[in-house]
């Protein structure tokens, strides 16, 4: 368990760095697109639009992974809070198992999705679509790791109470 926690913490930091860098990079192609149209300083590249779109896809998926670990995906706070820690843990287990189902779908079908991408290249840059499609199984894997840690914590809490 401590190993999983350490690994997840390191993985989470990598995701945080990656999304920050991508967000900074995202500004570049769109700026180039404007400058190339209005100035003679740089040629009119055609790859800028596609690179920006692909950066966005990765930012979305990285952000989704990050939000699984820090529990910041939008949810609805309508049910009354459980009165005991045990009740609270049961509520969280239901949520985390439901999210895990989506994670498993992302991993299993995402793997096929990635292989499907392997056979295709993008229209403008000729990049293998694997580079984009792989984000889905990776998100599935991140869900498994992060939600696994949370579920182990919840179960430990339940057991501690039961004992």
């Amino acid at each position: 368990m401590p190993r999983l926690r350490d690994f997840n913490a390191a993985f989470y930091r990598v995701l945080q760095r990656a999304i920050t860098v991508l967000m900074g990079l995202l500004i570049v192609p769109v700026t180039l697109q404007i400058f190339s149209r209005y100035t003679e300083l740089i040629p009119r590249y055609i790859w800028t639009e596609e690179v920006a779109r692909f950066c966005l896809i990765w930012i979305i998926m990285l952000g989704a992974m990050i939000a699984v670990r820090d529990g910041t995906h939008f949810d609805l706070d309508i049910l009354p809070k459980a009165r005991t820690k045990q009740g609270d843990a049961i509520g969280r287990i239901i949520v985390h198992v439901a999210m895990l189902v989506v994670g498993v779908i992302f991993l299993v079908y995402g793997w096929r999705f990635a292989l499907f991408g392997w056979d295709q290249t993008s229209e403008l840059t000729g990049l293998s679509m694997l580079a984009i499609h792989i984000a889905w199984p990776l998100t599935g894997l991140a869900c498994l790791l992060f939600l696994g840690e949370k579920l182990l914590d919840d179960v430990a809490l339940l057991r501690g109470r039961d004992a």
């Binding site: 920006a52 995906h73 939008f74 239901i94 999210m99 779908i105 499609h133």
Partner: protein, 434 residues
Amino acid sequence: MTALDVGLIMFGAFAVLIVLRVPVAFALGLACIPVFFIDDRLTPFLLLNEMLKSYNSFILLAIPFFMLSANLMNSAGVTERLMELARTMVGWFPGGLGHVNVVVSMIFAGISGSSTAEAAGIGGVMIPAMKKQGYDTEFTVALTACAAVMGVIIPPSILMVVWGGVMSVSIGALFLAGVLPGVMIGFSLMAAVYVYAKQRGYPVYARATLREFFCAAWRALLPILTPLIIVGGITGGFFTPTEASVIAVLYALLLGLFVLRTIEWGKVPELLYDSARFAAISLFCIGTASAFGWLLAYFHLPQLFVDAVKSYGGGITSVGFITAIAFLIIGCFIDAIPAIIIVGTVLAPVAKSVGMHPLHFAIVGVISIAFGLVTPPYGLCLMIACALGKTTIAKAFKDTMVLLGLMLLVLGFVILFPDVVLALPRWVMPKFVQ
């Protein structure tokens, strides 16, 4: 399976899951899964494919950029400059600081496309200032939250970018269409501040001199040029909405780092991270919501609504009210972006069938869904304002409902008189508005 069966399974599963606190984006994806397995022609592979198709959009790129520019402007401390300008304009009205709050929100709405950034940025400065002057906390919080709603109605607007991208409506025309309704909401809030101030004896500022006004306007000039650059750039055909959003980022960086020098270089990565993460969470919902909407359309569910409205003989006004009510109800429970995709795609064919103008339909939808930002249980702006004012939603509820009531009157007016929406786009961009 009939369309009704599919609708019941999907909406039923979604409702149960979100009540159990499963995040909206995941609940939308999960609600599709039974249908993928029940129908032989479908597979969960389609969920992933629909997600990719929805994210692979140059228009949606504008969303992280508008969030980043709003965060940069907040960090650059432009709120104080706007506050000073607003004070010289409306501070001498009864309830001076309340009016200042509304006017700052209106101006900031022209700089930022996000209501939550607006609630956080303006609330952080205005709420303590109003409380210090003796305004009731509940009123202060309610006013700040309701005024922040203008953030997505007055251009630029993240919700309009999503609407335009998903439903193929000109974003420039949408931006223009939002101006008048947004300003009307601002005036309705100022009328409310006036009545509250008279009843409760809230303080006023001394009338500012013309010189003070010009000094304040000079200090606020650079930030308030932003809306002109963005909206002028798009409607003038100089930039696409996405390019305009990048220009807004570059302009905010230039102001914060070099001109006002209020942002330190070391803070930039943090701002990039916060904006990217928040945009990603919002946009992630678009993927699963698109798959949800795609399945509803695959089983012809929107057609059921079209037939129902036809048999009832509804016209533009009744469809306008149906749209508003549907968005207001769903806006109480889920985030604005997935709500647009689910309700918008279901109701768009209905609006088209009665000849409602796409811009009118869009603005009625965007205003109604924006009101969801202050309606509990899921009202993000109200939550942010309550946290900043150190009070609870339950306590701020009454004043919020009073202000929302006035804003609903504006919405009713917009539904009844489409020209409020169409006049400005017709004038500036006639080729986009038939």
